[in-house]
């Protein structure tokens, strides 16, 4: 068994109205920023999985993403591996 740290990035699918993205875009003028477009607001979920190897851990995360974290009708996701988690968790504990 090894621990693996992942992030699941969920965003509204292309073509789905994203009123939050639009609101962010609308505020950019107040900051004096221009040239920014196509803002999409999503969410990022980070998690640790204990499994036999990285491939098995990724399979768990893919299932979790498809069944719970994202609604495939309206959202797209991509799974990002952040590396082995054991040292990350202990150093996080130590540092935080």
């Amino acid at each position: 068994m090894s621990s693996h740290r992942f992030a699941v990035n969920v965003t509204p699918k292309a073509g789905i109205l994203d009123p939050q993205g639009r609101a962010v875009e609308g505020s950019l003028g107040h900051l004096g920023i221009d040239g920014v477009s196509a803002v999409r607001v999503g969410r990022r979920i980070e998690l640790t999985v204990d499994a036999d190897g990285a491939a098995a851990a990724r399979a768990v995360v893919e299932r979790l993403a498809a069944e719970l974290l994202a609604n495939p009708l309206i959202e797209a996701y991509f799974v990002e591996e952040l590396g082995a988690a054991s040292s990350a968790t202990s150093s996080a504990k130590g540092a935080a």
């Binding site: 789905i16 109205l17 009123p19 939050q20 609101a23 719970l68 974290l69 609604n71 009708l73 309206i74």
Partner: protein, 254 residues
């Protein structure tokens, strides 16, 4: 025998009491179904009421989808049981894939709590049979994620198969803006095709965003929602009676 209509109670439900009250007015025996309950024996119909199940964390309705009671409701629905989701209950049914589509953030991003008008597209379903005629029905909405979405192909199929149950309309009954492209107080969340409620293909599971239970007696300012509650109660009663008959004949006339 009055129909025994179950009302699911999640942590965060807040329209369960109102729904049970409206069901009792319509002559049903309301039965509270706690979210950890996995057995629906003796229940003739199920309503998933409004609220914020499990805090609506992650996405409205999604955590509720995996609760023991919703798994039982899914089995109940597969066997032909009558299920109605109101507001958050509709969001739960959509997340569970028991009705088509999804509910997105309102286009204006604001939570909306006010009266709207809807009209039934079908008057021959377990959810609408007692409405009588197509006319604008006034009842409240109270939601932040009520913008109905499905892809174009699904929307076309819903229209073709007569699965659009309710649409937002203007108070005079004329059509609201259908695609949310311009703000329209008659379709305040910007739902595609102005859809306020849909049904599954089998016709036994439906959801709607407005609250018929909050418009079920004149004291509340409108009785326009009561036809929906009565339709559901009578259809549940009919199912209960036919099941008793089947059971009696199978049991050799106990």
């Amino acid at each position: 025998m009055p129909a025994r209509v179950g009302v699911v109670v999640f942590p965060g439900s807040n329209c369960d009491r109102d729904t049970m009250h409206a069901l009792a007015l319509a002559g049903a025996e309301p039965v509270e179904l706690w979210h950890e309950r996995a057995d629906l024996a003796g229940i003739d119909g199920v309503i998933l009421p409004g609220g914020f199940a499990y805090g609506d964390y992650l996405r409205a309705g999604v955590i509720a989808r995996f609760s023991p009671v919703v798994r039982a409701v899914a089995d109940f629905a597969r066997e032909g049981g009558l299920v109605l989701g109101i507001c958050n209950g509709f969001q739960v049914l959509a997340e569970a894939g028991l009705v088509p589509g999804a509910l997105l953030r309102n286009r204006g991003l604001r939570f909306l709590g006010r009266d709207v008008h809807i009209a039934a597209e079908r008057l021959d379903t377990p959810f609408t049979a007692r409405i009588g005629e197509r006319r604008p029905l006034r009842m409240p909405i109270a939601h932040g994620e009520g913008c109905y979405f499905a892809d174009e192909a699904t929307l076309d199929a819903l229209e073709r198969d007569g699965l659009v149950l309710f649409r937002y309309v203007r108070p005079d009954g004329s059509a609201a803006v259908l695609d949310g492209s311009q703000p329209d107080p008659a379709n305040p969340n910007g739902s595609l095709r102005a859809i306020a409620g849909v049904m599954n293909a089998a016709g036994n599971v439906a959801g709607l965003m407005p609250h018929p239970e909050r418009a079920s007696e004149s004291l509340l300012g409108s009785e326009d929602g009561f036809g929906i509650v009565r339709s559901f109660v009578e259809a549940s009663e009919a199912r209960s009676t036919s099941r008793d008959l089947v059971a009696a004949s199978a049991g050799g006339g106990r």
